[in-house]
Protein backbone atom coordinates (compact mmCIF):
# COMPACT_ATOMS: atom_id res chain seq x y z
CA UNK A 1 0.00 0.00 0.00
CA UNK A 2 2.77 2.41 0.89
CA UNK A 3 4.47 1.43 -2.35
CA UNK A 4 1.36 2.41 -4.27
CA UNK A 5 1.22 5.78 -2.49
CA UNK A 6 4.89 6.37 -3.26
CA UNK A 7 4.26 5.49 -6.92
CA UNK A 8 1.39 7.98 -7.24
CA UNK A 9 3.56 10.63 -5.58
CA UNK A 10 6.18 10.17 -8.32
CA UNK A 11 3.61 10.59 -11.10
CA UNK A 12 4.32 14.30 -11.27
CA UNK A 13 7.82 13.41 -12.43
CA UNK A 14 6.17 12.64 -15.77
CA UNK A 15 5.12 16.26 -16.31
CA UNK A 16 6.27 17.97 -19.48
CA UNK A 17 7.93 20.95 -17.74
CA UNK A 18 11.60 20.66 -16.67
CA UNK A 19 11.30 19.15 -13.18
CA UNK A 20 9.29 16.41 -14.89
CA UNK A 21 10.83 14.08 -17.48
CA UNK A 22 7.82 14.01 -19.85
CA UNK A 23 9.47 16.03 -22.60
CA UNK A 24 12.70 13.96 -22.83
CA UNK A 25 10.63 10.77 -22.83
CA UNK A 26 8.51 12.01 -25.73
CA UNK A 27 11.66 13.09 -27.58
CA UNK A 28 13.05 9.59 -27.01
CA UNK A 29 9.81 8.12 -28.37
CA UNK A 30 10.10 10.37 -31.44
CA UNK A 31 13.64 9.22 -32.21
CA UNK A 32 12.64 5.59 -31.59
CA UNK A 33 9.81 5.97 -34.09
CA UNK A 34 12.06 7.70 -36.61
CA UNK A 35 14.56 4.85 -36.49
CA UNK A 36 11.77 2.26 -36.63
CA UNK A 37 10.28 3.91 -39.74
CA UNK A 38 13.65 4.21 -41.44
CA UNK A 39 14.73 0.68 -40.60
CA UNK A 40 11.37 -0.74 -41.67
CA UNK A 41 11.52 1.09 -45.01
CA UNK A 42 15.09 -0.04 -45.64
CA UNK A 43 14.17 -3.56 -44.54
CA UNK A 44 11.22 -3.69 -46.96
CA UNK A 45 13.45 -2.53 -49.81
CA UNK A 46 16.12 -5.12 -48.98
CA UNK A 47 13.41 -7.73 -48.47
CA UNK A 48 11.86 -7.09 -51.90
CA UNK A 49 15.26 -7.34 -53.60
CA UNK A 50 16.08 -10.42 -51.53
CA UNK A 51 12.77 -12.16 -52.24
CA UNK A 52 12.98 -11.57 -56.00
CA UNK A 53 16.66 -12.57 -55.92
CA UNK A 54 15.86 -15.80 -54.07
CA UNK A 55 12.99 -16.69 -56.38
CA UNK A 56 14.21 -15.57 -59.79
CA UNK A 57 17.98 -14.99 -59.37
CA UNK A 58 20.77 -17.17 -60.65
CA UNK A 59 22.30 -19.95 -58.52
CA UNK A 60 25.07 -17.74 -57.09
CA UNK A 61 22.69 -14.92 -56.11
CA UNK A 62 20.34 -17.46 -54.55
CA UNK A 63 23.09 -18.97 -52.41
CA UNK A 64 24.34 -15.55 -51.31
CA UNK A 65 20.79 -14.59 -50.29
CA UNK A 66 20.48 -17.84 -48.35
CA UNK A 67 23.71 -17.04 -46.49
CA UNK A 68 22.46 -13.51 -45.71
CA UNK A 69 19.10 -14.60 -44.29
CA UNK A 70 20.57 -17.56 -42.41
CA UNK A 71 23.37 -15.62 -40.75
CA UNK A 72 21.23 -12.64 -39.78
CA UNK A 73 18.52 -14.86 -38.34
CA UNK A 74 20.99 -16.99 -36.35
CA UNK A 75 23.03 -14.23 -34.68
CA UNK A 76 21.51 -12.07 -31.91
CA UNK A 77 20.49 -8.58 -33.04
CA UNK A 78 22.62 -7.13 -30.26
CA UNK A 79 25.79 -8.71 -31.67
CA UNK A 80 24.86 -7.74 -35.24
CA UNK A 81 24.28 -4.16 -34.13
CA UNK A 82 27.76 -3.98 -32.63
CA UNK A 83 29.47 -5.66 -35.62
CA UNK A 84 27.62 -3.64 -38.27
CA UNK A 85 27.97 -0.44 -36.25
CA UNK A 86 31.77 -0.68 -36.11
CA UNK A 87 32.26 -2.34 -39.49
CA UNK A 88 29.81 0.08 -41.14
CA UNK A 89 31.41 3.27 -39.82
CA UNK A 90 34.84 1.82 -40.56
CA UNK A 91 33.94 0.92 -44.13
CA UNK A 92 32.39 4.33 -44.86
CA UNK A 93 35.47 6.08 -43.49
CA UNK A 94 37.85 3.85 -45.44
CA UNK A 95 35.96 4.66 -48.64
CA UNK A 96 35.97 8.37 -47.82
CA UNK A 97 39.71 8.34 -47.03
CA UNK A 98 40.37 6.39 -50.22
CA UNK A 99 38.50 9.02 -52.23
CA UNK A 100 40.52 11.75 -50.52
CA UNK A 101 37.87 13.11 -48.14
CA UNK A 102 38.11 13.47 -44.36
CA UNK A 103 36.61 10.87 -42.05
CA UNK A 104 33.13 11.66 -40.81
CA UNK A 105 31.23 10.88 -37.65
CA UNK A 106 28.17 8.84 -38.58
CA UNK A 107 25.13 9.96 -36.59
CA UNK A 108 23.45 7.51 -34.24
CA UNK A 109 20.17 7.77 -36.14
CA UNK A 110 21.77 6.88 -39.49
CA UNK A 111 23.75 4.01 -38.00
CA UNK A 112 20.67 2.70 -36.17
CA UNK A 113 18.55 2.81 -39.32
CA UNK A 114 21.26 1.10 -41.35
CA UNK A 115 21.89 -1.68 -38.85
CA UNK A 116 18.27 -2.46 -37.97
CA UNK A 117 17.37 -2.18 -41.67
CA UNK A 118 19.82 -4.94 -42.58
CA UNK A 119 18.36 -7.13 -39.81
CA UNK A 120 14.78 -6.38 -40.89
CA UNK A 121 15.73 -7.07 -44.51
CA UNK A 122 16.57 -10.70 -43.75
CA UNK A 123 13.22 -11.35 -42.10
CA UNK A 124 11.34 -9.36 -44.76
CA UNK A 125 13.00 -11.49 -47.46
CA UNK A 126 11.48 -14.62 -45.97
CA UNK A 127 8.04 -13.07 -45.43
CA UNK A 128 7.86 -11.67 -48.97
CA UNK A 129 9.25 -14.81 -50.55
CA UNK A 130 6.57 -16.91 -48.90
CA UNK A 131 3.88 -14.43 -49.92
CA UNK A 132 5.06 -14.34 -53.55
CA UNK A 133 5.15 -18.13 -53.69
CA UNK A 134 1.53 -18.20 -52.54
CA UNK A 135 0.44 -16.20 -55.59
CA UNK A 136 -1.24 -18.63 -58.02
CA UNK A 137 1.30 -19.43 -60.75
CA UNK A 138 -1.36 -19.08 -63.44
CA UNK A 139 -1.72 -15.37 -62.73
CA UNK A 140 1.97 -14.68 -63.38
CA UNK A 141 1.99 -17.01 -66.41
CA UNK A 142 -1.01 -15.16 -67.82
CA UNK A 143 0.81 -11.84 -67.38
CA UNK A 144 3.83 -13.30 -69.17
CA UNK A 145 1.64 -14.62 -71.94
CA UNK A 146 0.27 -11.12 -72.41
CA UNK A 147 3.85 -9.98 -73.07
CA UNK A 148 4.25 -7.85 -69.94
CA UNK A 149 7.81 -6.88 -69.01
CA UNK A 150 9.12 -8.40 -65.72
CA UNK A 151 9.01 -5.04 -63.93
CA UNK A 152 5.41 -4.50 -65.00
CA UNK A 153 4.45 -8.03 -63.91
CA UNK A 154 5.93 -7.30 -60.49
CA UNK A 155 4.14 -3.95 -60.20
CA UNK A 156 0.74 -4.90 -61.60
CA UNK A 157 0.35 -8.61 -60.77
CA UNK A 158 2.78 -10.11 -58.28
CA UNK A 159 2.97 -7.32 -55.70
CA UNK A 160 -0.78 -6.54 -55.45
CA UNK A 161 -1.64 -10.25 -55.30
CA UNK A 162 0.94 -11.12 -52.67
CA UNK A 163 0.07 -8.17 -50.42
CA UNK A 164 -2.76 -9.88 -48.48
CA UNK A 165 -0.51 -12.88 -47.84
CA UNK A 166 2.38 -10.70 -46.75
CA UNK A 167 0.56 -8.21 -44.52
CA UNK A 168 0.30 -10.33 -41.35
CA UNK A 169 4.02 -11.09 -41.50
CA UNK A 170 4.85 -7.49 -42.37
CA UNK A 171 2.76 -6.33 -39.40
CA UNK A 172 4.79 -8.54 -37.08
CA UNK A 173 7.98 -7.20 -38.63
CA UNK A 174 6.89 -3.63 -37.95
CA UNK A 175 6.23 -4.51 -34.30
CA UNK A 176 9.69 -6.09 -34.17
CA UNK A 177 11.16 -2.93 -35.69
CA UNK A 178 9.63 -0.75 -32.97
CA UNK A 179 10.79 -3.12 -30.23
CA UNK A 180 14.27 -3.64 -31.69
CA UNK A 181 14.95 0.10 -31.48
CA UNK A 182 15.25 -0.50 -27.73
CA UNK A 183 18.43 -2.51 -28.43
CA UNK A 184 20.15 0.69 -29.54
CA UNK A 185 20.00 1.69 -25.87
CA UNK A 186 22.83 -0.79 -25.29
CA UNK A 187 25.16 1.17 -27.60
CA UNK A 188 24.15 4.32 -25.74
CA UNK A 189 21.79 5.87 -28.26
CA UNK A 190 19.21 8.17 -26.61
CA UNK A 191 16.00 6.48 -27.75
CA UNK A 192 13.01 5.84 -25.48
CA UNK A 193 14.41 2.97 -23.38
CA UNK A 194 17.77 4.64 -22.80
CA UNK A 195 16.11 7.97 -21.86
CA UNK A 196 13.81 6.07 -19.51
CA UNK A 197 16.74 4.45 -17.77
CA UNK A 198 18.44 7.82 -17.36
CA UNK A 199 15.26 9.36 -15.95
CA UNK A 200 14.69 6.41 -13.63
CA UNK A 201 18.30 6.45 -12.46
CA UNK A 202 18.22 10.18 -11.76
CA UNK A 203 14.95 10.17 -9.82
CA UNK A 204 15.05 6.62 -8.35
CA UNK A 205 11.39 6.25 -9.44
CA UNK A 206 12.14 3.07 -11.42
CA UNK A 207 8.63 1.63 -11.56
CA UNK A 208 7.00 4.89 -12.61
CA UNK A 209 9.31 5.51 -15.55
CA UNK A 210 9.62 1.97 -16.88
CA UNK A 211 5.83 1.57 -16.64
CA UNK A 212 5.32 4.88 -18.45
CA UNK A 213 7.68 3.81 -21.25
CA UNK A 214 5.90 0.46 -21.39
CA UNK A 215 2.57 2.24 -21.83
CA UNK A 216 4.05 4.29 -24.68
CA UNK A 217 5.40 1.18 -26.47
CA UNK A 218 2.15 -0.67 -25.88
CA UNK A 219 0.12 2.21 -27.34
CA UNK A 220 2.28 2.16 -30.47
CA UNK A 221 1.83 -1.62 -30.74
CA UNK A 222 -1.94 -1.51 -30.32
CA UNK A 223 -2.38 1.35 -32.80
CA UNK A 224 -0.17 -0.34 -35.40
CA UNK A 225 -1.96 -3.66 -34.90
CA UNK A 226 -5.26 -1.93 -35.63
CA UNK A 227 -3.85 -0.17 -38.72
CA UNK A 228 -2.39 -3.39 -40.11
CA UNK A 229 -5.68 -5.24 -39.54
CA UNK A 230 -7.49 -2.53 -41.53
CA UNK A 231 -4.88 -2.62 -44.28
CA UNK A 232 -5.22 -6.37 -44.56
CA UNK A 233 -8.99 -6.12 -44.79
CA UNK A 234 -8.60 -3.54 -47.54
CA UNK A 235 -6.02 -5.62 -49.43
CA UNK A 236 -8.30 -8.65 -49.20
CA UNK A 237 -11.43 -6.90 -50.42
CA UNK A 238 -13.16 -8.78 -53.20
CA UNK A 239 -11.23 -11.96 -52.39
CA UNK A 240 -12.90 -15.13 -51.14
CA UNK A 241 -13.21 -15.29 -47.35
CA UNK A 242 -10.19 -16.87 -45.61
CA UNK A 243 -11.11 -20.01 -43.77
CA UNK A 244 -9.42 -20.35 -40.43
Amino acid sequence: MSGLLAATATLELLQLEPPGWGAPLLRGLASSMMIAFGAYGLGLLLGLCGAFGKLYGGPVLRDLMAVYTTVVRAVPELVLILILFYAGTDAVNQVLLGLGYDRIQISGVAAGIGVLGVVQGAYATEVLRGAIQAVPAGQIEAARAMGMAPAMIARRVTLPLMLPNALPGLGNLWLNATKDTALLAVVGFAELTQTTRQAAGATKAYFTFFMAAGVLYLTISLISGWIFARMERRARRGMPEMRA
Binding site: G3, P59, V60, D63, L64, V71, R73, A74, V75, P76, E77, L78, V79, L80, L82, I83, Y86, A87, L175, K179, D180, T181, A182, L183, A185, V186, T193, T196, R197, A200, G201, K204, Y206, F207, F210, M211, A213, G214, Y217, L218, S221, L222
Partner: protein, 259 residues
Amino acid sequence: MILTRAFWQPHRIVLAAIAIAIVVFCAVTLRWDWVPKYLPLAAQGLWRTIWILLTSVVLGLMLAIPLGLAQAVGPWFLAWPARAFCTVIRGTPLLLQLWLLYYGLGSLFPQIPWIRQSDLWPILRQAWPYGLLALTLSFAGYEGEVMRGAFKGVPKGQLEAAKAMGMPRFTTLRRIWLPQALHRVLPTLGGETVLQLKATPLVATITVVDIYAVASRVRQDTFLTYEPLLLLALVYMAVTAVIVVIFRWFERRVPTRVA
Protein backbone atom coordinates in the same frame (compact mmCIF):
# COMPACT_ATOMS: atom_id res chain seq x y z
CA MET B 1 22.01 -32.38 -47.36
CA ILE B 2 25.49 -30.90 -47.30
CA LEU B 3 27.12 -34.28 -47.99
CA THR B 4 25.13 -35.14 -51.10
CA ARG B 5 26.48 -34.86 -54.62
CA ALA B 6 23.62 -32.60 -55.72
CA PHE B 7 24.74 -29.98 -53.20
CA TRP B 8 28.24 -29.62 -54.63
CA GLN B 9 27.46 -27.87 -57.89
CA PRO B 10 30.40 -26.02 -59.52
CA HIS B 11 29.39 -22.56 -58.27
CA ARG B 12 29.08 -23.85 -54.70
CA ILE B 13 32.65 -25.14 -54.83
CA VAL B 14 33.81 -21.67 -55.88
CA LEU B 15 31.72 -20.02 -53.12
CA ALA B 16 33.06 -22.46 -50.53
CA ALA B 17 36.61 -21.73 -51.69
CA ILE B 18 35.97 -17.98 -51.29
CA ALA B 19 34.51 -18.57 -47.81
CA ILE B 20 37.53 -20.64 -46.78
CA ALA B 21 39.83 -17.93 -48.16
CA ILE B 22 38.01 -15.30 -46.02
CA VAL B 23 38.31 -17.49 -42.92
CA VAL B 24 42.03 -18.08 -43.53
CA PHE B 25 42.52 -14.35 -44.15
CA CYS B 26 40.81 -13.57 -40.81
CA ALA B 27 42.80 -16.25 -39.00
CA VAL B 28 46.12 -14.94 -40.33
CA THR B 29 45.71 -11.16 -40.28
CA LEU B 30 43.57 -10.63 -37.15
CA ARG B 31 44.87 -11.09 -33.62
CA TRP B 32 43.79 -14.28 -31.85
CA ASP B 33 46.48 -14.60 -29.16
CA TRP B 34 43.98 -13.62 -26.45
CA VAL B 35 41.82 -16.70 -27.04
CA PRO B 36 43.64 -19.23 -24.76
CA LYS B 37 43.65 -16.78 -21.86
CA TYR B 38 39.89 -16.22 -21.97
CA LEU B 39 38.89 -19.77 -22.85
CA PRO B 40 37.85 -20.85 -19.31
CA LEU B 41 35.80 -17.67 -18.85
CA ALA B 42 34.20 -18.16 -22.26
CA ALA B 43 33.28 -21.76 -21.43
CA GLN B 44 31.66 -20.56 -18.22
CA GLY B 45 29.79 -17.83 -20.11
CA LEU B 46 28.60 -20.25 -22.78
CA TRP B 47 27.36 -22.63 -20.12
CA ARG B 48 25.46 -19.79 -18.43
CA THR B 49 23.87 -18.76 -21.73
CA ILE B 50 22.73 -22.32 -22.41
CA TRP B 51 21.53 -22.80 -18.85
CA ILE B 52 19.43 -19.63 -18.94
CA LEU B 53 18.09 -20.59 -22.38
CA LEU B 54 17.03 -24.09 -21.33
CA THR B 55 15.54 -23.05 -17.99
CA SER B 56 13.57 -20.15 -19.43
CA VAL B 57 12.25 -22.25 -22.33
CA VAL B 58 11.10 -25.08 -20.05
CA LEU B 59 9.57 -22.79 -17.39
CA GLY B 60 8.08 -20.53 -20.05
CA LEU B 61 6.44 -23.45 -21.81
CA MET B 62 4.99 -24.68 -18.53
CA LEU B 63 3.50 -21.22 -17.98
CA ALA B 64 2.33 -21.02 -21.59
CA ILE B 65 0.09 -24.10 -21.30
CA PRO B 66 -2.31 -22.59 -18.71
CA LEU B 67 -2.09 -19.23 -20.52
CA GLY B 68 -3.12 -20.83 -23.80
CA LEU B 69 -5.81 -22.95 -22.18
CA ALA B 70 -7.27 -19.94 -20.36
CA GLN B 71 -7.43 -17.94 -23.59
CA ALA B 72 -8.84 -20.79 -25.65
CA VAL B 73 -11.63 -22.08 -23.39
CA GLY B 74 -11.37 -20.32 -20.02
CA PRO B 75 -14.13 -18.25 -18.45
CA TRP B 76 -13.79 -14.49 -18.99
CA PHE B 77 -12.12 -13.83 -15.62
CA LEU B 78 -9.26 -16.15 -16.65
CA ALA B 79 -9.23 -15.48 -20.39
CA TRP B 80 -9.12 -11.73 -19.97
CA PRO B 81 -6.01 -11.49 -17.72
CA ALA B 82 -4.25 -14.12 -19.83
CA ARG B 83 -4.91 -12.14 -23.01
CA ALA B 84 -3.82 -8.90 -21.33
CA PHE B 85 -0.60 -10.56 -20.15
CA CYS B 86 0.25 -11.82 -23.64
CA THR B 87 -0.56 -8.45 -25.21
CA VAL B 88 1.61 -6.52 -22.75
CA ILE B 89 4.55 -8.93 -23.07
CA ARG B 90 4.37 -8.95 -26.86
CA GLY B 91 3.78 -5.22 -27.12
CA THR B 92 6.78 -3.95 -25.16
CA PRO B 93 10.52 -4.51 -25.71
CA LEU B 94 12.11 -7.29 -23.69
CA LEU B 95 14.93 -4.94 -22.69
CA LEU B 96 12.38 -2.65 -21.02
CA GLN B 97 10.74 -5.57 -19.18
CA LEU B 98 14.16 -6.76 -18.04
CA TRP B 99 15.17 -3.36 -16.73
CA LEU B 100 11.77 -2.86 -15.09
CA LEU B 101 12.20 -6.11 -13.15
CA TYR B 102 15.87 -5.66 -12.34
CA TYR B 103 15.94 -1.99 -11.39
CA GLY B 104 12.31 -1.83 -10.17
CA LEU B 105 12.12 -4.96 -8.05
CA GLY B 106 15.81 -4.63 -7.25
CA SER B 107 15.17 -1.25 -5.65
CA LEU B 108 11.93 -2.32 -4.00
CA PHE B 109 13.03 -5.57 -2.32
CA PRO B 110 15.72 -4.12 -0.02
CA GLN B 111 13.07 -1.82 1.52
CA ILE B 112 10.92 -4.74 2.64
CA PRO B 113 12.33 -6.19 5.90
CA TRP B 114 10.93 -9.74 5.72
CA ILE B 115 12.45 -10.25 2.25
CA ARG B 116 15.82 -9.02 3.46
CA GLN B 117 15.73 -11.45 6.37
CA SER B 118 14.48 -14.42 4.38
CA ASP B 119 16.73 -17.26 3.23
CA LEU B 120 16.10 -16.28 -0.38
CA TRP B 121 17.82 -12.91 0.01
CA PRO B 122 21.34 -14.09 -1.01
CA ILE B 123 19.78 -15.30 -4.28
CA LEU B 124 17.57 -12.23 -4.83
CA ARG B 125 20.59 -9.98 -4.36
CA GLN B 126 22.16 -11.41 -7.50
CA ALA B 127 21.21 -10.40 -11.03
CA TRP B 128 20.43 -13.72 -12.70
CA PRO B 129 17.01 -14.38 -11.05
CA TYR B 130 15.69 -11.18 -12.63
CA GLY B 131 17.14 -12.10 -16.02
CA LEU B 132 15.68 -15.57 -15.83
CA LEU B 133 12.30 -14.21 -14.71
CA ALA B 134 12.14 -11.68 -17.55
CA LEU B 135 13.13 -14.25 -20.20
CA THR B 136 10.68 -16.81 -18.81
CA LEU B 137 7.77 -14.36 -18.78
CA SER B 138 8.64 -13.23 -22.29
CA PHE B 139 8.74 -16.79 -23.63
CA ALA B 140 5.47 -17.56 -21.84
CA GLY B 141 3.84 -14.52 -23.40
CA TYR B 142 4.81 -15.40 -26.97
CA GLU B 143 4.24 -19.13 -26.57
CA GLY B 144 0.93 -18.62 -24.72
CA GLU B 145 -0.45 -17.05 -27.87
CA VAL B 146 0.81 -20.01 -29.92
CA MET B 147 -0.67 -22.51 -27.44
CA ARG B 148 -4.04 -20.76 -27.68
CA GLY B 149 -4.11 -21.48 -31.40
CA ALA B 150 -2.87 -25.03 -30.86
CA PHE B 151 -5.56 -25.84 -28.27
CA LYS B 152 -8.22 -24.40 -30.55
CA GLY B 153 -6.84 -26.33 -33.52
CA VAL B 154 -7.41 -29.77 -31.99
CA PRO B 155 -10.48 -31.24 -33.77
CA LYS B 156 -13.67 -31.13 -31.71
CA GLY B 157 -14.41 -34.78 -32.53
CA GLN B 158 -11.38 -35.90 -30.54
CA LEU B 159 -12.64 -34.20 -27.40
CA GLU B 160 -16.20 -35.38 -27.97
CA ALA B 161 -14.96 -38.94 -28.41
CA ALA B 162 -13.07 -38.69 -25.12
CA LYS B 163 -16.21 -37.38 -23.44
CA ALA B 164 -18.28 -40.18 -24.96
CA MET B 165 -15.83 -42.69 -23.52
CA GLY B 166 -16.59 -41.22 -20.11
CA MET B 167 -13.14 -39.73 -19.59
CA PRO B 168 -12.91 -37.18 -16.78
CA ARG B 169 -12.08 -33.68 -17.99
CA PHE B 170 -8.57 -33.64 -16.56
CA THR B 171 -7.73 -37.00 -18.11
CA THR B 172 -9.00 -35.72 -21.46
CA LEU B 173 -6.66 -32.76 -21.12
CA ARG B 174 -3.73 -34.93 -20.14
CA ARG B 175 -4.19 -37.75 -22.63
CA ILE B 176 -5.92 -36.20 -25.66
CA TRP B 177 -5.93 -32.45 -25.74
CA LEU B 178 -2.47 -31.49 -24.48
CA PRO B 179 -0.49 -34.08 -26.48
CA GLN B 180 -2.23 -33.09 -29.72
CA ALA B 181 -1.79 -29.39 -29.02
CA LEU B 182 1.92 -29.87 -28.24
CA HIS B 183 2.27 -31.87 -31.42
CA ARG B 184 0.93 -28.91 -33.37
CA VAL B 185 3.32 -26.53 -31.60
CA LEU B 186 6.43 -28.65 -32.15
CA PRO B 187 7.37 -27.32 -35.62
CA THR B 188 7.29 -23.70 -34.39
CA LEU B 189 9.00 -24.48 -31.09
CA GLY B 190 12.44 -24.81 -32.68
CA GLY B 191 12.17 -21.35 -34.23
CA GLU B 192 10.93 -19.87 -30.95
CA THR B 193 13.86 -21.43 -29.10
CA VAL B 194 16.30 -19.84 -31.56
CA LEU B 195 14.57 -16.49 -31.02
CA GLN B 196 14.93 -17.02 -27.27
CA LEU B 197 18.64 -17.75 -27.69
CA LYS B 198 18.95 -14.45 -29.53
CA ALA B 199 17.27 -12.70 -26.60
CA THR B 200 19.63 -14.12 -23.96
CA PRO B 201 22.51 -11.61 -24.49
CA LEU B 202 20.21 -8.91 -23.08
CA VAL B 203 20.89 -10.29 -19.60
CA ALA B 204 24.46 -9.04 -19.99
CA THR B 205 23.05 -5.50 -19.54
CA ILE B 206 22.13 -6.39 -15.95
CA THR B 207 25.60 -7.74 -15.14
CA VAL B 208 24.94 -11.46 -15.72
CA VAL B 209 28.15 -12.88 -17.17
CA ASP B 210 26.98 -14.87 -20.20
CA ILE B 211 29.01 -15.48 -23.37
CA TYR B 212 28.10 -12.02 -24.70
CA ALA B 213 29.38 -10.36 -21.52
CA VAL B 214 32.63 -12.32 -21.82
CA ALA B 215 33.09 -10.98 -25.36
CA SER B 216 32.44 -7.44 -24.12
CA ARG B 217 35.04 -7.95 -21.43
CA VAL B 218 37.61 -9.15 -23.96
CA ARG B 219 36.89 -6.05 -26.03
CA GLN B 220 37.46 -3.81 -23.03
CA ASP B 221 40.64 -5.60 -21.93
CA THR B 222 42.35 -5.94 -25.30
CA PHE B 223 40.95 -2.95 -27.25
CA LEU B 224 40.14 -5.29 -30.12
CA THR B 225 36.97 -4.40 -32.02
CA TYR B 226 36.23 -7.16 -34.50
CA GLU B 227 37.87 -10.35 -33.30
CA PRO B 228 35.75 -11.04 -30.17
CA LEU B 229 32.55 -10.02 -31.96
CA LEU B 230 33.21 -12.26 -34.98
CA LEU B 231 34.02 -15.21 -32.73
CA LEU B 232 30.89 -14.45 -30.68
CA ALA B 233 28.74 -14.45 -33.82
CA LEU B 234 30.28 -17.80 -34.78
CA VAL B 235 29.48 -19.25 -31.35
CA TYR B 236 25.85 -18.14 -31.59
CA MET B 237 25.58 -19.62 -35.09
CA ALA B 238 26.95 -22.91 -33.79
CA VAL B 239 24.46 -22.99 -30.90
CA THR B 240 21.63 -22.16 -33.33
CA ALA B 241 22.73 -25.04 -35.58
CA VAL B 242 22.69 -27.41 -32.60
CA ILE B 243 19.17 -26.27 -31.63
CA VAL B 244 17.93 -26.75 -35.20
CA VAL B 245 19.44 -30.24 -35.43
CA ILE B 246 18.01 -31.30 -32.06
CA PHE B 247 14.52 -30.16 -32.97
CA ARG B 248 14.70 -31.82 -36.40
CA TRP B 249 15.67 -35.08 -34.72
CA PHE B 250 12.88 -34.64 -32.19
CA GLU B 251 10.31 -33.95 -34.89
CA ARG B 252 11.30 -37.04 -36.81
CA ARG B 253 10.81 -39.16 -33.70
CA VAL B 254 7.26 -37.97 -33.19
CA PRO B 255 5.06 -39.94 -35.57
CA THR B 256 2.90 -37.81 -37.84
CA ARG B 257 -0.18 -39.24 -39.36
CA VAL B 258 -2.11 -36.94 -41.60
CA ALA B 259 -5.68 -38.07 -42.10
